[in-house]
Symmetry: D2
Amino acid sequence: MNVFGDKWTFTSFGESHGAAIGGVLDGVPAGLHISMDLIREELERRAGKTENKSYIVDSVNRKYIVSPRALREPDEVEWLSGVMSVSERSERSVSETVWVTPESGLSGEAGLITLGTPIAFIIRNKDARPEDYEWLKHTYRTGHADKVYEQKYGIRDWRGGGRASARETAARVVAGCIAKQELAAKGISIHASLIQVGAETDPDKFAETIAAYKRDGDSIGGIVECIITGIPVGTGEPVFNKLQAELAFAIMSINACKGFEYGTGFGGVTQPGSAINHISGGIAGGIADGTPVTFRCVFKPTPSTPKALVHCTSSLGTSGVQPVKVGRHDACVAVRAVPVVEAMTALALVQFL
Amino acid sequence: MNVFGDKWTFTSFGESHGAAIGGVLDGVPAGLHISMDLIREELERRAGKTENKSYIVDSVNRKYIVSPRALREPDEVEWLSGVMSVSERSERSVSETVWVTPESGLSGEAGLITLGTPIAFIIRNKDARPEDYEWLKHTYRTGHADKVYEQKYGIRDWRGGGRASARETAARVVAGCIAKQELAAKGISIHASLIQVGAETDPDKFAETIAAYKRDGDSIGGIVECIITGIPVGTGEPVFNKLQAELAFAIMSINACKGFEYGTGFGGVTQPGSAINHISGGIAGGIADGTPVTFRCVFKPTPSTPKALVHCTSSLGTSGVQPVKVGRHDACVAVRAVPVVEAMTALALVQFL
Amino acid sequence: MNVFGDKWTFTSFGESHGAAIGGVLDGVPAGLHISMDLIREELERRAGKTENKSYIVDSVNRKYIVSPRALREPDEVEWLSGVMSVSERSERSVSETVWVTPESGLSGEAGLITLGTPIAFIIRNKDARPEDYEWLKHTYRTGHADKVYEQKYGIRDWRGGGRASARETAARVVAGCIAKQELAAKGISIHASLIQVGAETDPDKFAETIAAYKRDGDSIGGIVECIITGIPVGTGEPVFNKLQAELAFAIMSINACKGFEYGTGFGGVTQPGSAINHISGGIAGGIADGTPVTFRCVFKPTPSTPKALVHCTSSLGTSGVQPVKVGRHDACVAVRAVPVVEAMTALALVQFL
Amino acid sequence: MNVFGDKWTFTSFGESHGAAIGGVLDGVPAGLHISMDLIREELERRAGKTENKSYIVDSVNRKYIVSPRALREPDEVEWLSGVMSVSERSERSVSETVWVTPESGLSGEAGLITLGTPIAFIIRNKDARPEDYEWLKHTYRTGHADKVYEQKYGIRDWRGGGRASARETAARVVAGCIAKQELAAKGISIHASLIQVGAETDPDKFAETIAAYKRDGDSIGGIVECIITGIPVGTGEPVFNKLQAELAFAIMSINACKGFEYGTGFGGVTQPGSAINHISGGIAGGIADGTPVTFRCVFKPTPSTPKALVHCTSSLGTSGVQPVKVGRHDACVAVRAVPVVEAMTALALVQFL
């Protein structure tokens, strides 16, 4: 239910307005070096913020876009187990086989080393303002999971979505970033980028397109493309666990994702076999063929906008439209989905190694 | 690798030109009645054939289309375990709790009853003509998995694709049809239909569109839409095992499938949140909301056509284009994928019951 | 439920009096050579028979014991998928990488080669004599699973036990023998032997001890010891999936097994730490330490004896003792459990490779 | 590796001398009330301490025994997610379906309510005294996992055992206590008790027996018996996932456990079938038969004693005996294993519900 993968097993936990969110990543081999800078950077991408108030949406072409939403406090990862800082290690280990050499230039500040045991981490929830959500106490928002949660569990945390909140994806980003570093060590790289916002396909115009929807109190969807290079020939299984099936499973589990395609995708339907036969998308019969794997996924507009939420229904069963209040809103969640797409891709791929 | 699901566990086996293909379906409760007629009908849909030489591609609107490929011998299912014929049962059971009454009108001919034990079945491979594949002995076909199989396993069955052959989907159809009958007993129905062939969206013109590509020695892709009704509110899990993620995993595991979308899908990217906020596609936050679940998937054109296979490469490492011979070819595999989409949807859904 | 393991996934199926029993073994690498002679020999050990009417119970010291039960027809394995005969292979493969050389001296008669795809096999049920079980139609046998099966499934196959029959273990022996050959290729050997029958611990007296109980219309239990050599240091996981926990799970799943112990076992309870501290049983902290792993398991006497079955109860709910009829009976099932212990040990170990 | 179960999935993490140990329990239904008093009590049983400096070893007959080891600070559980305090709930939920009535008399102090989301908790490691372990830096202790850990992972935390430390079982006790409360709500109770210490079987003499070994600088093993009542008929699966196999797997994963038996166990080997045929141990054919399930397990003496550790080896590869220093030692770990046996039994059983 909240566990992903069977080789690198990632367990995600935490409510958006509880004490903390976090995760446990089990199966990571001992001796992997983890850069804390990279994890911090990925969390900032997901939070829609970097130091200079803008952030990378296109990690291949290094296009930048101004963040649509400022975060007041950065997410800080607290490590509970499974790692030790590099400086601590030299004291700790008695093994003669020292795999971290002075030449590698690591300092305790910069990095962690995995122990081969489960890596547990948490991110405390600061910045919780329950009063912002007071109006939701008796309201089911259209396009949200408010109602189905209450129907499924008999209880609903109305203060921000609970497990359905996109905040949960921060834990995925941390775990995925560890996976990405293992993949990088094996020569595999993952690059996702936003390639479309609404009808706009020019990245340089994404910021203004989003800003226009935001001013209008509305929101818009986007398409993210992801390219995996260096993936070994033979990765994937021929029948059920095809590489594309595992990627689709991972990506479709991201909030607001409505579709997944690879290679010729949906657009290829109008092309005859003789024209597109040679386009594999990097996968043949479920198995990586050695060329880059390319897939795309689409994210719907957020429903939490002043314009969209007009027609909420009452959770008390009373008729009539509910009062709606929306503060800051994210006009294009696809922007912040980019690092999450990379994270889930990485978590899907490490299962095959 | 060849096992699908963890509640109803389906194991698929068999090479396309070995002794048999088949499967084991474990986890099916005791006492489910299985109609053999339905299984036969589904296998004929998959084989592209019915008694009157045409078959149903659109199970909702009952549109018909002439089969593009005739099968010489029907697939016959041999049941090895887990079921007994209805007539046999009355002799076999000593339980006072008899759930099959004479009034229910079942005969040994018509049906089987499950025992709660693993259901194993095989379909013998008749009609194997190795000489048809002789030319493939030293050839990797473009768009096929020939080369990656040899790279992954160090061996390749060149006589028809082995596990990569679409023949494997016959076992999925048998297992899926059992799942469908359990779902039907719970009020859940699954209807897939072909909604697009190439650029054509009028079902009445699909047959001639496909025939035109066939005459041209070419092939074309298609889009299948699937509608699930009666699915209980609350089906699905909120984080990784979202209903859409499990469906995408199941569907993307079908040969030649290049994309999956639900609800507003890729097309919704140009619509603002205020316009499409109310379209859930039957799923909110990963959980069924009680409305019909609608998804679409796209199938690429088969690469095994006279026109498409011109540029094969040699598996012997010699340069130059290989001799190509294609006999009967399936100009639009999306047609025969329709019952497989239903089968995999059913297998995905029973895991949640 | 009927699936064992997650790397080498073994699915077992078949009722003792249905069409066939069998299994599917998924995850076996391509290119493993399987000796059919070894499989035949193992099945004969399990069936309590070899060519010279006696069979090996102690595979280390090669002690022999006369079989307490003759089998009229040998179990014949029919291979459905995942393998081809060695002679067939040279025709079949087009790969230049030929791993079977003429020098290896294999003939089509002697062996099979795995393809890397699921290996499916069946053993047809011959020799079914339903009339032998007629008296069981309305009887629950003491010490058997007759009653709980009917309570759990609402139906019971009274003709020989269905899935509860020890006949199911023949499929385990086939799959385990494949696993054993993979282990042997890695230098790991598994040797189980009967070390106690009743109070008797001298193997040379086991046959007469068993014969005495048989004459008396009674039965007796036995203890099997298993020694694994060559297991790599580091095999096993430190917390839940300790090597001893996985072995216990595998062994305790064998019919009639009532206990598992390793190293100092139950007998060690009276010894102080200072005396037995050095005895690891081959495992430290759940992880193989490089010394031979030694475990023991105990099998209860069969309850199907003239003397033991006196007090059966009626499945019709009527009071009174039921008529009891027992033909040939197996006075010590521990004898035939020996190859099953080896098979389950092998299946448990291959999961760690 | 560090994940137990597939319905109630328990992930354990934490090194004995890291920041914290803890766990995540996924799959627990919403609305379960958890008594924090019970969890505290179980943790104190495991720590070998209660308020009055003695504790229950026999939960059925309420026999007491003086704790052999005092804990300076109690283990405090910090809840991170998946639960809320009862008083908080009334504010939080907007559901009309209130399942906690005023009559149930719960206060925020006393209890927690589950949300249906993953329950994450940690126990911070206080009381770490690395200097106590300084002598272990270059020493492999006989009977410990020191050496195999270093061989398996290439690194070893010599300050207390890391994941091999019995401290990890505290997380099991917390998770198991939640499982136990779900089981109790369904009428299932689990009672483990120490039934043998060395050769002694009179519980009233256990304390003095242990004290004698302690004075002697030595240690002794013990046998724990566990009785499960109220388990529904039909629990368990007939082939691989037999109830006894799942229990054995759970119990054998506990540190220092060397054997598992149920029903007639090893002792039954000398009894003829006619004498013990009626003793099921609560399980027939792998399935609970409605009578109490009774099993026993044996724990070896701790190897960490002044007398036992004389012959340690050097981890530096130098020859000669290492200096040995043992402070407080636990002369009979079987005492503290009792609540861990209950916890693992509970975690095994909830998988079947």
